[in-house]
Point group: C2
Chain length 433, copies 2
């Protein structure tokens, strides 16, 4: 006998949780479609030369990569690079701005630890081919709508713009270090000011420049306060001025699109680790569950597609990390039964098997999910089964019932039962559902 076990770090759900997960995915899909994003799916496997073109270092190490025949393959580790490949490959078949959503699993061989999985769902939206701040705002508004639809409350979007810090670096003639500075700044929360100052100085920043940058990124608060602060710096640099105007416009559009002023802040420390972001960036946290970290994030990446396509195609998008969010969501979600059936049909004996199937067929025609118990166990055992599965009604098919084309409906929560004509059974059950 082989021990039945999964590789470590790979999670799977029992049916009740899977039903909850599926309900969550349906809600997210519905929100994305409400905002006019169209679905696509990409293959689990891509050519390594395509998938890993832009990725070195940590990410590449985590990728499941192998050779089959003479093809070097890699499993997708996010949905953005595959999107870039898809849009470039199908460029002439798509209408731009191309707005797609994609809800699929990704794989990363991360260190196994609590709450971290090696396979997890990402739920992404992206707009390709639009430089307009309306697309930036639309991205956040769609995410806001999806998170709300999931029943999450106390959501805060923490928004920034890469161009602000880049503008400061330009004005200080430090553009060569911009990647290193962004990476260092991204660690401020976790490693603290001293460590980040140290790292900045290692990258050839003067103590004053390091201090200026840290002072800057420590600012977080409501739109009015932060824009007043940013303007007070009087930085004379085009990138800076342009990015500031763009960010202000995005914030105005967010309010027009339904985000209330206590649902978002400007947080100048938000940089997001990935190198490919070029403009607006954001993270999302639950104020009542900060230890969960960012549950949704994204930003603008205007150069990513240049790796795969001759034309410059700007992009902006975001992702919900659903597998990680699942446990937090489950608490607020109504608990699901272990089976989607509303009704268990209980056949009493062999001779009643056919009548049981007829009953099930009739009930299904009226929109009920019906499980026919396969066999003729004692009633107690069949009802115990319904109970374990969380099924609310049993429909008993004895010979009396079969003779009269009737059924006895037992409400398994109240214990009450009633015998009615088969033609009226579905209506009777639906009244108490």
């Amino acid at each position: 006998m082989i021990q039945p076990k999964r590789p470590s770090g790979f999670n799977e759900l029992l049916p009740a949780d899977q039903l909850a997960m599926n309900a969550m995915i349906s809600i997210i899909k519905m929100s994305y479609e409400q905002y006019g994003y169209a679905p696509i799916e990409t293959p689990a496997l891509e050519l390594s030369q395509v998938l890993l073109a832009k990725e070195g270092g940590e990410t590449a190490k985590q990728v499941y990569r192998f050779t089959k025949g003479d093809t070097d393959l890699a499993m997708r580790f996010d949905l953005t690079i595959p999107l870039a490949r898809y849009a470039a490959e199908h460029f002439n078949e798509l209408a731009f701005p191309f707005r797609r959503y994609q809800i699929q699993e990704v794989w990363r061989a991360e260190k196994a630890q609590a709450g971290r999985y090696r396979q997890f769902y990402q739920c992404d939206i992206d707009t390709l081919g639009s430089k307009s701040p309306m697309s930036d705002a639309d991205t956040i508004l769609t995410m806001h709508s999806a998170l709300h639809a999931l029943g999450l409350k106390n959501i805060i979007f923490k928004i920034s713009h890469r161009g602000l810090l880049n503008g400061i670096l330009e004005s200080k003639k430090l553009t060569k270090s911009s990647t290193e500075v962004l990476r260092a700044v991204d660690k401020l929360d976790k490693q603290g000011e001293a460590a980040v100052t140290n790292e900045l100085q290692k990258n050839n920043l003067s103590r004053k420049d390091a201090k200026d940058i840290i002072d800057f990124v420590k600012h977080s608060g409501n739109v009015k306060t932060i824009f007043a602060y940013v303007k007070s710096l009087k930085i004379n640099n085009e990138t800076f001025t342009h990015s500031l105007a763009e960010l202000e416009m995005i914030c105005q559009l967010l309010q027009a699109g339904g985000l209330s002023s206590n649902e978002f802040v400007i947080d100048l420390s938000v940089a997001r680790g990935l190198d490919y972001y070029t403009g607006m960036v954001f993270e999302t946290v639950l104020t009542k569950n900060l230890k969960l970290g960012s549950i949704c994030g994204g930003g603008r990446y205007d150069n990513l597609l240049a790796s795969y396509h001759k034309d410059s195609i700007p992009g902006v998008g975001a992702s919900i990390g659903l597998s990680r969010l699942f446990s937090a969501l489950k608490e607020s979600f109504k608990s699901m039964p272990a089976n989607p059936a509303h009704v268990l049909v209980v056949p009493f004996e062999q001779e009643l098997a056919k009548y049981s199937l007829e009953v099930a067929l009739t009930l299904r025609k009226h929109g009920l999910n019906v499980l026919v118990y396969p066999g003729f166990e004692k009633m107690g055992k069949q009802l115990g089964y319904a109970d374990k599965l969380g099924i609310s009604f049993a429909v008993l098919c004895g010979s009396n019932e079969a003779d009269k084309k009737s059924v006895t409906i037992k409400n398994l929560k109240t214990g009450k039962q009633v015998t009615v004509a088969l033609t009226k059974a579905a209506a009777t059950i639906k009244k108490s559902l």
Copy 2:
């Protein structure tokens, strides 16, 4: 620049086709839930020692298998072995009979050829822990319901029972060759009588025995005719007698459960290649598209779980090969737009961006999917975009409209347009949807 391409044999869909595919998957899920199957998903990667325990030969060669760290991993190539592992691993957390559905992709490095993909969707149902013929019948009835719900007509279920041929082999003292005989017989359609006779004789069957077996499996037809033929053979063997009674019972239940007599035949040549089947087996074909081959098949496997669990757990199940069926289904399916939006909101200029977002929000509250064009292109360009995406309505937001809190609704099919108060816009659009 990196050439954007996929590994060969990996298919992906454009948005309109993906929307059609998603609609098909929803229909299948709904059918499976109507019959009381609960969803599960299993990881893409399993331990090779678990996944490949029962598989040698051809299948093993097609598996994507590799080592990461010191773990020998394999991508799932079907949904049945992962189910066996899942049920054994979670045995104490599940209620039996355990009825699950699973709609996920599987991967097989098959030779690339038209209509064959290396990644494809399987849509499976299985019942574990029930020996009752009611479960066999339920499997076929559920598949029948799902295929009908997809709009397929002229479906024929070709049903047989492994025990009939096994019984004949027992009566001829040829049980040692049963696997080889089943494999040979499975090729009758493709290779013809002479080749199969030859293969049977190679496996030490006499010419008479080979002829008897081929005569037997050539029989196919309606229930009455074939059962009369099978009984006329007067084979005195318990396996044979028992299997015949079981198959008769299954056929009676199929009729009681809504299968009409012209929707299924007994076809004694149906054996299904896989070794693990032990009882009823079936294939499904479309009589108007026979070249498509079997679109759905399954059967009973009472020993498979013994590899992973100490208790004997019988199983029966079936699978729809959706990716292969997709092209055939698409013809009968209404064609889908390239975007799920019902409405494109057309903003005329920067100053109207905020009003456009307000309009979109109002329409969405009334259940419409709304895409706000990101930017202020000329109206012709924005309407051309709606046209390419198959969006039916444009809602024009000019300054007149914004001043009066109204919108101009343009029906893009008829060209007609009407200006109404924003509060009445959703109702006006829904009337013409």
